[in-house]
Amino acid sequence: MTCIQYIDLDMSIPTNPIVYSKTGDTARQVVATLYNQGVEWDVPSGATGVVYAKDCAGNSFSSSAVSFEDNQATITLPTFTSIGLVPTEISISSGGEVVATFNFKSLVYKSA
C-alpha cells in the first residue's frame, strides 16, 4: 500500500513544510505542488528528480522514485533508518542544470 501526504514548495522562498514518516517505511509518498514566488511553477519537460535527505548525524538518504506532472512532483520518501527531523529536498535536473527545492522537514518516528 501507499500513503500520500501533500505539501506546497516554493522554488524561490524557503517555507519549511513538514511531512511524517516512520523508520523502515518504503512506500510513503508525498505530492509536492511547486510554486515560484507564489506562482505555479511547471517542471521542465523531461526533467528528472532525486530526493535527498540528511539527518543531523550526517547520515544521507535518497530516493529516485520521483515523477513530475506540470507543477506537481510525486515522490517516495527515502527509507529512513534514524529518527527525528531530517531536512529533505527534491533535486531537479534538466538540460544539464540542477535546481533543488528548499528543504522540507521529514519528521521520522521510530517504528515499533
Binding site: 515560484n36 540528511k54 535546481v99 528548499f102
Partner: protein
C-alpha cells in the same frame, strides 16, 4: 530553469534576500533596478569565503528603458512637475542661485543648510554630524537632553510662505524626538511612533520661542550610528525625503517671455550606420553624428540613408531632428523619395543652430524606398556641416513650454533625460558691484549707461548680434542701433568684453547720472536672459526626474505621457556562487556605481558528501 524576480534600488538600501541551494546551477534572476540610468550592468556575487565570483562568469545585465511611462506627465495647461533641473550646476554659486531670496523659494525639501547648530556637535553624550546632503548622523547615549537645532528664529534662517507644510524625519530611531514650534499656535513634538506633523497657516519662525530641532532625552541611546533625514515640504502628506540642494530655481510661467523646448517621443532609433554619400563626402562620426562635406565648389553635398533600415510602423508619425554645426554652406534635414524629390524637410539653417527637425507619417506602400537626407548645402556651392545628436523618434512632436523669469533655460529631452542649458538669467538692482558707467552716446532725450562687468560666460557678440534674448523693461537692440537710435533699448557693447548697455529716457531718472540710474534700478530691477557661450549639458536620471514631483512646476502643452523606467533581465546565477554554503553579498555593477546590495543565502544540500 527557475527564474526569481527581485527589485533593487540604486539609492535606497532595502532588505532584499534571496535563497539558493548548494550546487544549484539553473537559477535565473530577473532584476528591476529602480533609478538605474545605464542600460547594461553586471551581476556580482561575493561569497562568504571572500571569493568574488568574477564578472566574466556572468551574463551581463540587459537593462533597457521601458516604453510605457508614468513619472513625468505633461498635461494641457495644467501645472506639471519638471524636477530638479539644476543638477550638475551646484558647484557654481552664481548659477545655483545663492542670492537672497532663493529664486524659487526652494524645492520639495524646504529644510536647507546651513542648520542653526554647528556640525559636528557633541552635546551631552550625543554626537550630531551633518552630512553634505543635509542628512544628520547621530550616535551616543544622552546623559542629559541633547538638542540639535535645524532652524531658529534667532538666526532668521527659515521663512515659509503661508500654506500647509509637513515636517518629517526619515529613518527616525527610537530615542530620537524632533519638534517644530512654528507660529500656528501649537508646538509639535514627534518621534518614531508619530514621525510626521502637518502645519497650516504661516510657518514662519516669528519669535524666539519658534525653533525646529531634533533632540534626544536624557538616557536615550542611539544604537550604533544612525543617519536621519529631516524634511519640511508643502502639503499635508509626508513623501520620500529628497535633499534641499539640487533644487531647480525655475518658477511657474505667467508670460511668454522665455521658453524651453521639449522634444517628445519614444526611444531614439536613429543609427548612422549605413549612411552613404548622395553627393560629396559623408563621414560617420558616431552613432548619432555625421559630417557632410562638399567635394568641390560645384557639388551639393548630402548624405543618404534608406528608411528601410528602421522598423517603422505604418501610419505612425516620426520626428527627425539634429543639431547642426555649420562650418560652411547651409544645413537642412529632409526625406526624399525614390526620384530624389524632397517630400518633407526641416527649415534651412545658415548659422549654428540649436535644432533642425521635421516630421513625417510613415506609409509602407509608398515610402519603403524613401531615404533620409542630411544636406551639407541647400543651394549654394560647397558646404561642410556636422550633424550631432541626431534623433529619429516615433510619434515625435515639439512643444514649447513657457518658463517666465526662469533662471536657466534650454532643451530638455524628456525621453533621454538630457537637459541642455544654454541661457541664463541675471538681475541688475543698481548695486555698486554692477559698476555702471555713463556713456557719451547720451542724447537730448535719452541717456546711455553700461555695466563694466562683462557677462564672461555669455556668447560672444558682433555689432549686429546681441546675446541678450530677454529683458523685462527694454526692447532688444544691437550695438549699432543702441549707438545710433535715440530710442530705449538694451544691447551689448565692449568689443571683446560683453558689457550690457542700456539707453533709457532721461525723464525716468531722478538725476541724469550714474547715481540716478542706480537709484532707478534699485526701484525697477532690470532682468535679462542671455545666451551662454558653452551650453551646460545635464543628464537627468529617473531619480532626479521623480524626486521633486509636485514642486518646481511649469506649464506644459501636451497630453502625452513620458517618463523613465528601467528594468530588465539579468543574469543566470553562476554555479561558482553556490559552491560555498552561507550568506553571499550581491549587487549589480554599472559604470562607477553599483546598486544597493542584496543577500543570497546558499543553503546546504542534503546529498551525501563526496569523499
Amino acid at each position: 530553469m527557475v527564474q526569481t524576480n527581485l527589485n533593487l534600488n540604486m539609492n535606497n538600501p532595502e532588505v532584499v534576500q534571496l535563497h539558493a541551494k548548494q550546487g544549484d546551477s539553473g537559477r535565473l534572476y530577473k532584476v528591476n533596478i529602480k533609478d538605474a540610468t545605464e542600460e547594461n550592468g553586471t551581476l556580482r556575487i561575493l561569497r562568504p569565503d571572500g571569493v568574488e565570483v568574477t564578472a566574466d562568469a556572468l551574463k551581463s545585465a540587459d537593462i533597457t528603458p521601458t516604453e510605457s511611462t508614468d513619472l513625468v506627465t505633461f498635461t494641457a495647461l495644467e501645472e506639471v512637475p519638471l524636477t530638479k533641473l539644476e543638477v550638475g550646476l551646484s558647484s557654481s554659486q552664481d548659477l545655483h542661485g545663492q542670492t537672497s531670496p532663493y529664486p524659487s523659494g526652494g524645492g520639495k525639501n524646504k529644510l536647507g543648510q546651513p542648520y542653526a547648530s554647528a556640525s559636528p556637535k557633541d552635546s551631552n553624550g550625543i554626537l550630531w554630524t551633518v552630512n553634505d546632503d543635509g542628512s544628520i548622523t547621530i550616535s551616543g547615549t544622552a546623559t542629559a537632553t541633547s538638542i540639535f537645532f535645524l532652524k531658529t528664529y534667532a538666526q532668521q534662517n527659515i521663512t515659509l510662505s503661508s500654506g500647509t507644510y509637513t515636517f518629517s524625519v526619515k529613518n527616525c530611531p527610537d530615542a530620537l524626538n524632533f519638534a517644530a514650534q512654528f507660529n500656528d499656535g501649537t508646538d509639535k513634538t514627534m518621534n518614531k511612533a508619530n514621525p510626521t506633523v502637518t502645519f497650516t497657516n504661516s510657518a514662519t519662525l516669528t519669535d524666539s520661542s519658534h525653533n525646529v530641532y531634533l533632540y534626544v532625552n536624557a538616557g536615550g541611546a542611539i544604537s550604533g550610528s544612525v543617519t536621519v533625514y529631516p524634511q519640511i515640504e508643502q502639503n499635508s502628506t509626508a513623501t520620500d525625503w529628497s535633499p534641499y540642494s539640487n533644487i531647480c530655481p525655475i518658477v511657474p510661467s505667467n508670460g511668454n517671455d522665455y521658453a524651453i523646448t521639449v522634444f517628445q517621443g519614444r526611444n531614439n532609433i536613429y543609427d548612422s550606420s549605413g549612411t552613404t554619400n548622395q553627393s560629396g563626402t559623408t563621414t560617420i562620426l558616431a552613432k548619432d553624428s555625421i559630417r557632410v562635406q562638399g567635394a568641390s565648389t560645384t557639388s551639393y553635398p548630402a548624405s543618404k540613408q534608406n528608411l528601410s533600415v528602421y522598423p517603422l510602423v505604418n501610419g505612425k508619425t516620426y520626428l527627425v531632428c539634429a543639431y547642426a554645426k555649420i562650418a560652411n554652406g547651409k544645413a537642412r534635414l529632409a526625406l526624399r523619395n525614390g526620384s530624389n524629390t524632397v517630400v518633407a524637410s526641416s527649415g534651412t539653417a545658415t548659422e549654428e543652430s540649436g535644432e533642425l527637425y521635421f516630421t513625417f507619417t510613415y506609409d509602407s506602400t509608398e515610402m519603403a524606398n524613401y531615404y533620409l537626407s542630411f544636406f551639407g548645402n541647400s543651394g549654394a556651392s560647397y558646404g561642410d556641416v556636422t550633424y550631432t545628436d541626431i534623433k529619429l523618434c516615433e510619434d515625435g512632436t515639439t512643444h514649447s513650454i513657457s518658463l517666465g523669469r526662469s533662471v536657466y533655460g534650454g532643451t530638455l529631452d524628456v525621453v533621454s533625460g538630457m537637459l541642455t542649458v544654454d541661457r541664463k538669467y541675471k538681475r541688475y538692482t543698481g548695486e555698486t558691484s554692477e559698476n555702471w558707467n555713463y556713456s557719451s552716446w547720451t542724447s537730448t532725450n535719452t541717456a546711455v549707461f553700461y555695466s563694466n562687468v562683462s557677462l564672461s560666460d555669455g556668447k560672444s557678440v558682433s555689432e549686429n548680434y546681441n546675446c541678450i534674448t530677454v529683458c523685462n523693461q527694454l526692447p532688444i537692440g544691437t550695438y549699432t542701433s543702441l549707438r545710433d537710435d535715440d530710442t530705449p533699448a538694451i544691447a551689448i557693447t565692449g568689443g571683446t568684453q560683453i558689457l550690457p548697455s542700456v539707453r533709457i529716457p532721461k525723464s525716468v531718472l531722478s538725476t541724469v547720472d550714474v547715481t540716478g540710474f542706480r537709484s532707478y534700478l534699485t526701484n525697477n530691477p532690470l532682468d535679462i536672459v542671455y545666451e551662454l557661450a558653452t551650453p551646460i549639458v545635464i543628464d537627468l536620471t529617473p531619480q532626479q526626474i521623480s524626486t521633486l514631483l509636485g514642486t518646481n512646476n511649469i506649464f506644459g502643452q501636451t497630453i502625452r505621457e513620458v517618463a523613465f523606467e528601467y528594468d530588465g533581465v539579468l543574469a543566470e546565477l553562476p554555479s561558482e556562487a553556490t559552491e560555498v554554503v552561507g550568506r553571499c553579498i550581491g549587487d549589480v555593477l554599472f559604470t562607477n556605481v553599483s546598486s544597493m546590495p542584496f543577500t543570497l543565502n546558499v543553503i546546504p544540500n542534503n546529498q551525501e558528501e563526496t569523499p
